[in-house]
């Protein structure tokens, strides 16, 4: 399949993924509608988000069928963002505590 230039696939898989995206979006909306809170909310939102993102990238953007040379070149680099997220959450904790000392209690 991936041996030719161009991506030609049966329509069935697109319709399945299309439907699935609707269902997943509906579920994530329901999480908010029924006021699910705390860790359950975080977990559900993140699961639905990553599933949707994964299906869009894999099927709609055809990464599933591309050669590994291209897929890894695209999917690998964004992993460094995890380090960035880690650094910035550490930094914002520090800022929050500093503000707690100087803004809230005053000095």
């Amino acid at each position: 399949m991936a041996q030719e230039e161009g991506q030609q696939h049966p329509l069935g898989i697109y319709f399945k993924v299309w439907g699935l995206l609707f269902v997943l979006s509906f579920f994530s909306y329901m999480v908010d509608y029924y006021h699910v809170q705390g860790y359950t909310r975080w977990t559900l939102i993140l699961i639905f988000m990553f599933l949707k993102a994964g299906y869009i990238i894999a099927v709609f953007m055809h990464i599933k069928w591309e050669r590994l040379a291209l897929s890894y070149a695209i999917l690998g680099p964004p992993l460094v963002l995890l380090v960035f997220i880690g650094i910035m959450s550490y930094e914002s904790d520090y800022t929050y505590e500093t503000r707690g000392i100087y803004f809230v209690t005053g000095s």
């Binding site: 161009g6 988000m49 709609f60």
Partner: protein
């Protein structure tokens, strides 16, 4: 190994599957991305850089939200909309999400019919995608107007809580809305070329002088799906959190 053996062992590029194929593609001369039209490879590289830009925005949002000592406005209430009765939380955002997903579906069908060289269906599906995209931007304009005029949200402050809310909200959704708007223009241009039959006659592009082909519809599709992909993250982090 006799010379005749080495001749028979020559393979066409991009034949080896899996990890050894990855090593082979990257260590080969000239082209690392086998079997991929150059426009598509370049679009992917552009989208990769765009991923970093949007990530920087979303990480900035995380930093601002985690470090503020004020209460963050509740998205569920800020973006509620009432149709005569009680306000329904996030209803407009939900509709916008469904519109964008629908447009992603019509886009993927356009790519498929493009490769079947079905000119009319491809152009029609591209136009439908563009219309859905335009209605998304229209709803965003409505949302912004409501936020600015009725709720008094400004980039430097708002009546609901943390002043950073407005700045980060307008920046992230504005940048995304800009992407959607550019995508709509891009869709209309591609639809016009499909309609005219440029990709059937392999008419050369005015800018790149490359032969036109239905690959361009797929490249366009990558951009459009990326816009939908970014919205998935904005929806989760901005509206549902």
């Amino acid at each position: 190994m006799t010379p005749s053996d080495s001749v028979t062992s020559i393979k066409k590029p991009g034949q080896t599957p899996g990890l050894s194929g990855l090593a082979e593609d990257w260590s080969s001369d000239q082209r690392a991305f086998k079997n991929v039209p150059w426009g598509k490879a370049m679009m992917w590289i552009f989208l990769l850089s765009d991923t970093f830009i949007f990530s920087c925005f979303l990480i900035a949002y995380m930093t601002v939200r985690m470090s503020t000592t004020d209460v963050w406005p509740s998205a569920s209430e800020v973006f509620a909309l009432s149709f005569g009765g009680d306000p329904i939380p996030l209803i407009l955002i939900a509709i916008m999400t469904f519109i964008l997903i629908t447009s992603s579906g019509t886009m993927v069908l356009a790519v498929n019919y493009g490769y079947r060289k079905d000119k009319n269906k491809t152009a029609l599906l591209l136009i439908i995608t563009a219309l859905l995209g335009a209605s998304f931007v229209g709803m965003q304009v409505f949302e912004w107007t409501k936020l600015i005029v009725d709720q008094g949200v400004r980039p430097w402050g708002n009546p609901m809580g943390a002043p950073q809310f407005g700045a980060i909200f307008f920046m992230v959704t504005g940048f995304h809305g800009f992407h959607v708007s550019v995508g709509v223009l891009f869709l209309i241009l591609v639809a016009r070329k499909v309609w005219r039959g440029d990709y059937d006659t392999e008419k050369r592009g005015f800018f790149t002088s490359q032969k036109g082909s239905y690959d361009i519809v797929e490249t366009m599709g990558l951009y459009w799906h990326f816009v939908d992909l970014v919205w998935v993250f904005i929806f989760a982090f901005f509206y549902l959190w």
